[in-house]
């Protein structure tokens, strides 16, 4: 069963075969989890939405296009819609706040070793990138995550997001430019 194609497995999922469903889950869990995690910047939300996405796959198996459909694209569409719906709820408006400010409040300050103005410099690169991504507007973050982290083709992303390729590319350029601005200006000043 591990070597079966996505479509063959989906045919079994349609008949409520949980073993086939598990194989499909194992095939895509990392991709979908990382997609949602990079989009939402929250491990807890990503965990919940990963479960929600696959639950929807189970219940909506009859809606998959078994003739010409692409399972990966269909799965990403479900994950994207699930994430967009969740993020549009008011309780997640924190995404527009200054993350560095929040983290600054949460983290203990060590006055003997750290000056307040140098706190940002001491954050490691991983955190800086995560913060920069979080500061992007959702449609810029969405295209960067789908293109760079998920390595999907622009054509696939256009189908998933139902957006023209030219718009997606324009968003990518603008998004990556804004990301550069949010990252350390010294490090990336001569980049673009």
């Amino acid at each position: 069963m591990e070597k079966s194609s996505d479509k063959e497995l989906m045919n079994l999922v349609l008949k409520k075969n949980s073993r086939a469903f598990k194989v499909l889950y194992q095939r895509y869990e990392l991709a979908i989890f990382n997609f949602i995690f990079r989009y939402t910047s929250s491990r807890e939300i990503a965990q919940d939405l990963l479960q929600e996405t696959f639950t929807r796959v189970w219940f909506a198996a009859h809606l998959f296009d078994y003739e010409g459909g692409n399972f990966r694209g269909w799965l990403y569409t479900i994950a994207l819609n699930t994430t967009r719906n969740e993020m549009s709820k008011k309780r997640y408006t924190y995404q527009y706040l200054d993350v560095a400010e929040i983290k600054g409040k949460q983290e203990p300050v060590h006055p003997e070793t750290e000056r307040p103005d140098s706190r940002m410099e001491n954050l490691d690169l991983k955190e800086k990138i995560e913060q920069a991504l979080e500061k992007l507007k959702p449609h810029f973050r969405e295209i960067i995550v789908l293109k760079h982290f998920q390595q999907l083709k622009f054509k696939e992303i256009a189908e998933i997001t139902k957006t023209p390729e030219s718009t997606l590319k324009a968003r990518f350029h603008r998004g990556i430019e804004q990301l550069r601005k949010h990252l350390d200006p010294k490090e990336f000043s001569d980049a673009a």
Binding site: Q47, F54, T55, A60, L179
Partner: protein, 162 residues
């Protein structure tokens, strides 16, 4: 060749055709502006690649399967089979239709063709008003039956929010 950021993006993510790629590579050797943009994409790409891959909880699949029996699939038709509202709607629509047909028939009966139509046996049997009612409901039923599969499918998709 003009500076085209979209083409450079395709080259960077290896989506350009071999011919397109060789043309772009040729252009890149001469164009400092495009070289700079490619360097920028490279640097940003390398920076983003520093984010590690994250893993979900190891028991996620078990949690999904545990929740599935409790949750019913979301379908559109959860209303009771019979409710009072449709009957009121039907009665109101019927009244409106009868009025419309009565008005239409009174206008059509003024046309010269009406005299010859009245010789048709069905009109003779059920009257002009009855004949128009029959045509109206036949056409209406045909349209409703043709559209119902589309409406059903559409509602079903919306209910699942796919």
């Amino acid at each position: 060749m003009q500076h085209n950021k979209n083409s450079l993006l395709k080259l960077f993510y290896q989506e350009a055709s071999p011919q397109e790629a060789s043309e772009l590579q040729k252009h890149l050797t001469d164009c400092t502006e495009c070289q700079k943009y490619m360097q920028f994409l490279n640097r940003m790409g390398m920076t983003l690649d520093k984010l590690p891959e994250e893993r979900p909880l190891s028991n996620t699949f078990e949690r999904i399967m545990e929740n599935i029996p409790e949750r019913q699939p979301r379908t559109a038709f959860v209303q009771p089979a019979i409710s009072a509202a449709p009957f009121f709607k039907i009665a109101f629509s019927m009244g409106l239709i009868v009025l419309l047909i009565y008005f239409a028939q009174s206008k059509i009966s003024l046309l010269p063709i009406w005299d010859s139509l009245q010789e048709f046996w069905l009109i003779d049997a059920i009257g002009g008003f009855g004949f128009m009612m029959l045509i109206f409901f036949t056409v209406g039923t045909f349209i409703t039956l043709s559209l119902s599969p589309i409406l059903y499918f559409d509602m079903h998709r919306k209910a699942l929010r796919l």
